[in-house]
């Protein structure tokens, strides 16, 4: 029986993606030159203000859960490659291949939603402040201008914001592509093995 080596590659890449995320977050926003940094990542989300790292407990536990699930899915795909002839292997594939897709799509959706929802919340709570929507671009740099009535000084204050997707995110996207290929390969192999 031919083996679906794409599954092995996907499983391995999933584990590499998790390891990479711990060093480099998927998306990073830098406000000022390192004054405030937001590290958004499905496996470890944190923010840094004046050099001090902060983690929101509820997001941290969701990250831990997602990391465990992602690693389990990667392992499932590796086991699927080894035990491909077993009857239960299709369950392992089904468990593993969708995970990267869900995580990447979910991550981008939450990120885009946050950039649009947070300004609305801020503008509602603090009426003196006017935050543009979206707050910052998904990728690139922009300048946030603080209204002078907030600071009550005759000066214009503007802050440079730089946002970027790091290599970890693109590793995640590559994992999705490989996972879809794994699924397609499995379907082709299944139809080829069916008795005519």
């Amino acid at each position: 029986m031919k083996r679906n080596w794409f599954a092995l590659a996907t499983g391995a890449l999933m584990l590499v993606t998790v390891a990479s995320s711990l060093h480099s977050p998927w998306w990073r926003a830098e406000i000022g030159s390192g004054l405030i940094t937001v590290n958004a990542d499905p496996f470890y989300t944190s923010f840094k203000v004046f050099g001090v790292s902060y983690v929101i407990p509820i997001i941290f536990v969701l990250n831990v859960g997602l990391t465990a699930l992602f690693v389990a899915s990667g392992i499932a795909l590796v086991v699927y490659t080894i035990e491909q002839e077993k009857g239960y292997s299709k369950h392992l594939l089904s468990f593993g291949w969708r995970r990267p897709l869900y995580v990447v799509v979910g991550f981008v959706a939450v990120l885009v939603l946050s950039l649009h929802v947070i300004p609305l919340v801020v503008n509602t709570i603090a009426r003196a402040v006017e935050v543009s929507t979206p707050m910052v671009p998904l990728m690139g740099s922009s300048i946030i201008r603080l209204p002078s009535n907030v600071l009550n000084i005759p000066a214009q204050v503007s802050i440079t914001v730089t946002t970027t997707f790091t290599h970890s995110f693109f590793l995640g996207v590559a994992t999705v592509a490989l996972a879809i290929t794994t699924r397609a390969c499995h379907r082709r192999m299944s139809s080829a093995n069916k008795p005519t």
């Binding site: 050099g51 001090v52 407990p57 536990v61 831990v64 859960g65 392992l92 468990f95 204050v157 440079t160």
Partner: protein, 199 residues
Amino acid sequence: MDKVKWGLRAITLACVLVPLLCVTVQCFLADDLLGLLVPPQLRALTSPAALGQGGDLSSAFVALGINPSGFEMPRFKDLMFDESTSTATLKLEITSPLTRQSITLNELSFTVRNGTRSFTIELKDKVVIEANYTGTLSLSFSSSDPDALRRLVNIIKGVERPVYVEDLQFSDLSIDVNGILITVRDLGEISELFGGKSP
């Protein structure tokens, strides 16, 4: 086969629910549900102890990377003009307000006007104030008109007092600190800025 299927479903549920339940139950038992949303360092600030009920607010500031005694204005130490390099050096006594983050002064420039005549003064090199630094900070300035800069240094130090001194105006101040750009169009007259020190 069904065992594997159910086993995988159990793993999915366990991965999501176990960490979530652990932290939720912990916060619930401690009667601190806000602890789910607020980082522990910030919780220290909002705790009753820190809110003026005998708490130590300065230790909370330290945890946030802010020097509790660092909100002091820089104190003037010295100002001199170097003829050989045509630069003015301002020395200030400072205490960095941040304990874990360096402060970088990327740009500082302003324009001095005397009627129709004007010249710009700008910071020669960017200045980095290391985290938790206390000591003397040297700022070197250059100008498009070095002679005017020398005269300005002398006026501020009180060495010279030309007749046009009351008409000198500062404008177009631009400061870039760690990517935060502050611009002020009009700073007023030199006598207003330096008060009693001005000639």
